[in-house]
């Protein structure tokens, strides 16, 4: 398909999922992701596929578990409070090695919080979320086109590694409209067959067992080490990021999603004033681009994490820097959006500060 259409982020995610062959959508409404559920209620039926508005978030994620177990592409979506409810099922999915694609259109928390855009679920997205030793591959798009494209890639990655894959976006990206190229879905052609494990396949003669329970002596450790080898491979192969004007920079900002867009504006403002600022934008939040950030930390005196949360990503940037440079924080919370001028002000303060002072700006 050629040409552009003006489309809402939430709806772009839905259309990409339809194009990527999602057979079953299960979800429960919550702002600011409602347009995605509404879009799927129309499009999945048009395609003769399954759409269920479940009785709860917990029901939705367990329906996903069932659909994934029989080998069809499936997804769910929600915002913070709903994603919290789904964590038990996501952990079970990771334990049972089932492919799952899910979306968190982040809003303000903790608790029921508010419905304003936020990145405050960073810890939940990247540090497991549910219980147990597992990882989730996390994509953080920063515009409507990327929300479309990374949804398609997310389904592929879920099938490739048999893991839960998360699209981590926010109220701005979900609600905003931008021109979108409706790229056609292309099957990578090298995804592993599901024949060996999917339930209900008439060709399968031996009984199959889908489980996350390993009670025997040493069984779970063996299973988890197998998962770990998979996670190591993902860290090796799947890190993604984008950089702007990093090579000659005196200070490098690190920001993802909506924050990265504002940081880019701030970078242009600062450059117009002669301050050499660069921007590193992680696209995968897990695996985090820690190797590259470590290199950058060795070549500049200062880095600045810009996020719509109070220092959650900042912790990962500091870890990646291994103390090689100062890492500062510009954080907003609960619906606050970073402002270009305030970021530039902080950059000026950082550039004129000395010693080991760390400047945090909320």
């Amino acid at each position: 398909m050629s040409g552009k259409v003006l489309m809402k982020g939430n709806e772009a995610i839905g259309e990409a999922a339809v194009q990527a062959g999602c057979q079953c959508y299960f979800g429960y409404p919550i702002t600011p992701q409602n347009e995605l559920t509404a879009y799927m209620s129309k499009r999945m039926l048009e395609e003769g596929r399954v759409f269920i508005q479940s009785e709860s978030e917990i029901a939705a994620i367990n329906m996903c578990f069932g659909a994934a177990a029989v080998g069809v592409r499936t997804m769910t979506s929600s915002s913070g409070p709903g994603i919290s409810l789904k964590q038990e099922g996501i952990s079970y999915t990771a334990g049972a090695e089932l492919p799952l694609f899910f979306v968190n259109v982040m809003r303000g928390g903790p608790g029921l919080g508010n419905i304003a855009p936020s990145q405050a679920d960073y810890f939940q997205c990247t540090k497991g979320g549910g219980h147990g030793d597992y990882r989730v591959l996390v994509y953080a798009p920063s515009d409507v086109q990327e929300q479309y494209d990374y949804t398609m890639l997310g389904f592929d990655m879920a099938d490739r590694y048999r893991i839960p894959v998360l699209l981590a976006t926010d109220g701005i990206l979900g609600q905003m409209m931008e021109p979108l190229v409706l790229n056609e879905y292309k099957d990578p052609g090298d995804l592993p067959s599901k024949a060996a494990w999917r339930l209900g396949d008439p060709a399968t003669k031996e009984p199959l067992w889908t489980t996350s329970v390993y009670l025997g002596d040493g069984e779970l450790e063996e299973h988890n080490l197998k998962l770990q080898r998979k996670y190591d491979e993902i860290v090796e192969k799947e890190v993604r990021f984008e950089e702007t004007s990093v090579d000659d920079a005196d200070i490098v900002m690190v920001a993802y999603g909506t924050s990265a867009r504002v940081a880019k504006s701030a970078m242009e403002m600062a450059r117009a004033e002669g301050i050499k600022v660069g921007l590193h934008r992680p696209i995968t939040l897990w695996p985090f681009p820690e190797k590259r950030l470590g290199e950058i930390a060795g070549s500049v005196d200062n880095m600045l994490a810009v996020e719509m949360s109070l220092g959650q990503m900042w912790e990962d940037v500091r870890l990646a820097s291994c103390g090689a440079c100062r890492v500062h924080l510009h954080g907003r919370t609960a619906g606050g959006i970073p402002e270009e001028a305030a970021i530039v002000d902080q950059i000026k303060k950082i550039m004129s500060s000395k010693g080991d002072e760390i400047i945090r700006n909320f």
Binding site: K4, L6, T31, P32, I115, A116, G171, I172, Q175, M176, M177, E178, P179, R261, V262, K264, S265, E268, I337, E339, E340
Partner: protein
């Protein structure tokens, strides 16, 4: 060139449609464009607003925190957004519903009797189109032609009567600025 626009009014005046039409028109003219609505708890008669950015280059932030232009449809919206306009920017406001003057002296002002003109065309509800037409004809951020074309996309299936009413209101708005 980059232009950040905030449309504001009360729920039911069609300010979200104004923003979508601007974004659609910008896209049709091969510009970069973003549309971002205020969302969530809203009701008819409450306040509504949206941000649109139209640019020759890729748009970093979709937020119009310090807009170049505000299109103001009612009094509470003028109270809320007058102070946010960047110095040298523009305030277009609906004098049919706002009887005070703009207090800022460092911005350009264009008055549009949007409801009165819309009433002449045949429906108060097309006041938003009068405002859009005036804005496009005055500043040329997007062309009036592109806005008229974007009506075909955004109001598809609404029928000839509504379409023609909106087209006429937009043209009458444009005539105010020519």
């Amino acid at each position: 060139m980059i232009s950040k626009i905030r449309c504001a009014g009360f729920g039911g005046q069609g300010v979200v449609l104004m923003g979508k039409l601007l974004a659609q028109a910008g896209m049709m003219e091969d510009k970069h464009t973003t549309f971002f609505p205020q969302y969530g708890a809203a009701m008819r008669g409450g306040t509504a607003n949206c941000s649109v950015v139209v640019s020759d280059d890729a748009i970093a932030s979709p937020m119009a925190q310090e807009p170049d232009v505000v299109l103001i449809m009612n009094g509470p919206s003028l109270d809320k957004f007058e102070s946010t306009v960047r110095p040298g920017g523009w305030i277009f406001y609906n004098t049919s519903l706002i009887d005070r003057e703009v207090e800022r002296d460092d911005v350009e002002i264009f008055k549009v009797a949007a409801n009165d003109v819309a009433d002449e065309v045949g429906s108060t509800r097309s006041a938003n189109m009068v405002m859009l037409g005036a804005f496009a004809a005055k500043l040329g951020t997007v062309s009036v032609e592109a806005l008229l074309d974007s009506l075909d996309v955004m109001l598809e299936g609404k029928g000839d009567k509504i379409m023609n009413l909106n087209r006429e209101a937009m043209k009458r708005g444009a005539a105010l600025a020519e």
